[in-house]
C-alpha cells in the first residue's frame, strides 16, 4: 500500500526512550509517528522499578507533579542474604525526598501511558496495536518501516523497541546475542495496603525504600531488588542466562527461594501477588553497546543496550529518557542540514557523551566482569552474615577477635589473597 502521508521520523516503541524522542521532535514541529505494538503504551511493560529523577527532570521539568510516580525513594539498602540471616547497609536520606528528588519507584504500565500522552500532546501521532516487522532498506540505508503489507517511509527511523530489538540487528548494527550477554529478570508485584507498606518500611508521606539484594541465588550470577510502590511491592531477581543453564536452575525457583527467606518473607507477608512477569536485560555494559546509528537510523534506550549496573544502582530508565532526547536532538541537527546519513547522525554519540551516558558506562566498564567472579554472589554474602552473626552472639565460651572470626569463616571458601584481589577489583570497577 502506498503511503498517503510522509512522516519526518518514525519512532518504534512507545516506552521511555521512544516517547521521549517523539515528544522532543514533535515539540519542534516535526511530523512524528510513534508506533507501539501493545494495545496501549505500557501494555507490554512489566517493569516496576526505580527511575532516577534528575535526567528526566531535564526533559520533563518537575515531571513528578503530574506523572504517575509511586514513591520518592529516601531509604536505600544493600542486603547481603545468608542462609537464615541478612546483613543490611542502609542509607536514610530525607534530603533525597525533596525536589528535584533522586529517584522514584514507578509502575511502567502507568508511567509509559503518561509519557506517550506527552508525546501526543506535543503533536506526535501515536499508533498502538501495530508491530513493525522490517526496515525498508535501500543500498544499505534505512528508508522506512514495514508492518504487514504496509510500507511507510521517513527521513529517520528511531528504534526504541527495547531489549529484544530486532531492528538494530536488521539495520546491521549488531549480531545475534550470546547467552552470556543476556540476563533474565523476573518480577512479582505484590499488593499490600499503603499503610502496611509505610509501617513495614518505616516510610511515610509518599516516601519509599529500595533494596538491592545480594546472594542467595544458588550460585547463579545475579541479584535481586525490592522496591516499594504506593500500595504494592516490586520483588524481582535478575540472573545471567548462561549461568542458569550451567547450574540447571530455573529463574522462578530463585524468586520462590527469596520469598521464603526470613528477611524477605516478613516484608511481603500477607501480600497478594497481582502480577508475575519476565524480561530480558542486557548487563554487559559499554562492551555490549552496538553501533548506535547508521544511515537514516538511530537506536535508543534498551534497544541500544544502555544500562549501568554499578552494583549499587541499576540504571536503565533514566538512560532511556536521556538517550531518547539525545536521539531526537541529533535528528533535529540533521534536519537543519537535511542530511540524514550516518555521519550527519553521528552527533548522537557526542550528545550521549554530553549527557554523561556513554562516559558513565565507560567509567563502569569493569563492573560487568565483576559478575563473572562467583565469590561475590556465593561466598561473600554468606560470609558477611555468618561473621556478623558470630560477632553479635554472646556465648559462654572464650571470645575471639573479629579478624580471627573472619579468617575462620573464610577457611575453605576464599583465601586471603582472593579477597585482596577481589577488593582491588571492586576498587577499580567502582
Amino acid at each position: 500500500m502506498a503511503a498517503e502521508e510522509k512522516f519526518d521520523v518514525i519512532v518504534v516503541g512507545a516506552g521511555l526512550a521512544g516517547s521521549t524522542a517523539a515528544y522532543v521532535l514533535a515539540k519542534e514541529g516535526l511530523q512524528v509517528l510513534l508506533i507501539e505494538r501493545g494495545r496501549q503504551a505500557g501494555a507490554k511493560n512489566m517493569t516496576g522499578g526505580i527511575i532516577y529523577s534528575r535526567v528526566v527532570h531535564e526533559v520533563f521539568p518537575n515531571f513528578w507533579e503530574e506523572a504517575p510516580v509511586e514513591r520518592a525513594i529516601t531509604s536505600y539498602n544493600i542486603v547481603f542474604l545468608g542462609e537464615n540471616s541478612a546483613v543490611t547497609l542502609n542509607l536514610k536520606a530525607p534530603g533525597l525526598g525533596k525536589p528535584p528528588y533522586n529517584a522514584f519507584s514507578v509502575l511502567r504500565a502507568k508511567f509509559d501511558r503518561w509519557i506517550a500522552g506527552k508525546a501526543e500532546e506535543a503533536g506526535a501521532t501515536l499508533v498502538t496495536g501495530v508491530t513493525v516487522d522490517e526496515l525498508v532498506m535501500e543500498n544499505g540505508k534505512v528508508k522506512g518501516i514495514k508492518s504487514g503489507s504496509d510500507e511507510l517511509l521517513a527521513d529517520v527511523v528511531i528504534d526504541a523497541e527495547g531489549a529484544k530489538s530486532l531492528l538494530v540487528e536488521k539495520a546491521g548494527l549488531r549480531g545475534d546475542f550470546k547467552p552470556e550477554d543476556v540476563s533474565v529478570g523476573v518480577k512479582e508485584l505484590i499488593e499490600l495496603p499503603e499503610e502496611t507498606v509505610n509501617e513495614r518500611f518505616n516510610v511515610g508521606g509518599g516516601e519509599g525504600a529500595s533494596y538491592t539484594l545480594v546472594g542467595y541465588t544458588k550460585g547463579v550470577a545475579g541479584g535481586g531488588f525490592l522496591y516499594t510502590n504506593k500500595a504494592s511491592i516490586s520483588l524481582g531477581i535478575v540472573a545471567r542466562i548462561d549461568m542458569l543453564v550451567e547450574k540447571q536452575v530455573k529463574v522462578h525457583e530463585l524468586i520462590e527461594d527469596y520469598k521464603v527467606h526470613p528477611f524477605i518473607s516478613k516484608l511481603i507477608e500477607g501480600g497478594n501477588v497481582a502480577e508475575y512477569s519476565a524480561q530480558i536485560i542486557h548487563e554487559g555494559g559499554i562492551a555490549q553497546v552496538p553501533r548506535l546509528y547508521s544511515d537514516g537510523f538511530l537506536a535508543a534506550g534498551s534497544s541500544a543496550c544502555l544500562l549501568i549496573n554499578n552494583l549499587f544502582t541499576l540504571r536503565g530508565m533514566d538512560l532511556a529518557v536521556a538517550s531518547g532526547a539525545a536521539a531526537a536532538r541529533a535528528v533535529l541537527k540533521a534536519k537543519e542540514r537535511n542530511d540524514f546519513s550516518a555521519s550527519s547522525l553521528s552527533a548522537y554519540e557526542s550528545l550521549l557523551r554530553e549527557a554523561f551516558i556513554l562516559t558513565d558506562m565507560e567509567a563502569f566498564r569493569r563492573t560487568p566482569s565483576l559478575l563473572n567472579n562467583r565469590r561475590f554472589f556465593t561466598v561473600y554474602p554468606d560470609l558477611a552474615c555468618s561473621v556478623m552473626e558470630e560477632l553479635f552472639s554472646v556465648n559462654p565460651a572464650p571470645s575471639e577477635k573479629a579478624f580471627k572470626v573472619v579468617r575462620r569463616h573464610m577457611k575453605g571458601k576464599a583465601g586471603l589473597l582472593d579477597v585482596l584481589r577481589d577488593l582491588l577489583g571492586v576498587y577499580r570497577a567502582l
Partner: protein, 261 residues
C-alpha cells in the same frame, strides 16, 4: 448499502477484580469495544467490500469511547457518532435505546443496522431487539451468517440445536453472533487513515433528549452485584510415566466434565 453499526465501549471484564466480600470493584476498570460489536463491524465491512456503500458507527457511552470508535474506524467504518452518556453508565437498556434511536434518526437514512447479539459486560441482549422495535423495523437476531441481495437480507440464525434461515426486506436490524466472522486487526495504514475520518460527538440535548428524560425511562435498577472467584483446582500430576500421567489427566478432566463427554 447504507449500514449503521451500534457499538458499546464496554467494561473490560477480564480486568474486574473482586473484593473479599464478593463485590466486584468497578471503579477505574478499563474499557474496550465489546467483542461481539467488532463481529458486527466486520460483517458490515465484508458487505461494503462486496457491494460498496457506507458504514456509520454509533455509540452511547462515556467520552473515553472515542478511543474505541477510533478502532472501529480503523476496521473500516467511514464515520463515527458518539452520544455522550452523562450518567457514568448507570442507565438501563431502555435509555440506551432512546439515545441510539434518536442518534440514528438524526443521521437519517439507512438500509441495515448491525449489532452484536449482546455486550460482553452487561450481556442483556436487549438493545438490538428493542432498537428495532423503537424504530419500527424488522429484526433478525443471532445471525451466524448474513447475505445481502438487492433490497433484502438473508441470515442463518443460531438456535443452539438448530439453524434457521430467514429473510427480511430492508431496512432491517440484524444482531450477529461471535461465530459469524473473525474481526480484523487494523493495519498501520488503516489506523493512520482512521485518524482523519469524521467523528461527531453529540450531547443528549443535541438529540432533543436530556439526562432527566433518560432517567425517567430507565426504570430497571441494579439491586445487587455479586462476583464469585473461581478457585484453581491445584491438581498436579507428577513423577509418573507419561502414559500413566495422561490417563490420569484424562480421567480427571472427564470426572470434571471438562471434555464435553
Amino acid at each position: 448499502m447504507e449500514i449503521i453499526v451500534c457499538a458499546k465501549y464496554a467494561l473490560d471484564v477480564a480486568e474486574i477484580k473482586i473484593d473479599p466480600s464478593g463485590k466486584p470493584l468497578l471503579d477505574g476498570v478499563p474499557r474496550r469495544v465489546s467483542d461481539i460489536d467488532k463481529n458486527a463491524m466486520e460483517a458490515a465491512v465484508n458487505i461494503k467490500e462486496k457491494q460498496g456503500g457506507t458504514i456509520k458507527v454509533v455509540c452511547f457511552g462515556p467520552a473515553s469511547a472515542k478511543e474505541g470508535l477510533k478502532e472501529l474506524l480503523a476496521m473500516g467504518a467511514d464515520e463515527a457518532y458518539l452520544v455522550e452518556d452523562p450518567s457514568g453508565g448507570m442507565l438501563d437498556t431502555a435509555a440506551t435505546v432512546e439515545a441510539l434511536a434518536a442518534a440514528i434518526q438524526k443521521i437519517g437514512s439507512f438500509d441495515l443496522i448491525l449489532c452484536g447479539e449482546a455486550t460482553t459486560d452487561g450481556y442483556t441482549g436487549q438493545v438490538g431487539p428493542r432498537l428495532a422495535g423503537k424504530l419500527g423495523i424488522p429484526q433478525i437476531t443471532y445471525a451466524r451468517n448474513l447475505n445481502v441481495e438487492g433490497n433484502s437480507v438473508t441470515a442463518e440464525r443460531d438456535l443452539e440445536d438448530a439453524y434457521e434461515t430467514v429473510k427480511a426486506p430492508t431496512p432491517v436490524l440484524v444482531s450477529v453472533t461471535r461465530e459469524i466472522n473473525v474481526p480484523r486487526i487494523p493495519s498501520l495504514m488503516a489506523i493512520l487513515k482512521a485518524s482523519k475520518k469524521p467523528m461527531t460527538i453529540w450531547k443528549l440535548e443535541d438529540l432533543g433528549l436530556s439526562k432527566e428524560k433518560l432517567e425517567q425511562v430507565s426504570t430497571l435498577q441494579t439491586v445487587d452485584l455479586q462476583g464469585f472467584a473461581v478457585e484453581r483446582k491445584r491438581v498436579v500430576i507428577k513423577d509418573k510415566p507419561v502414559e500413566e500421567a495422561v490417563q490420569e489427566l484424562v480421567s480427571y478432566l472427564m470426572k470434571e466434565k471438562a471434555l464435553g463427554v
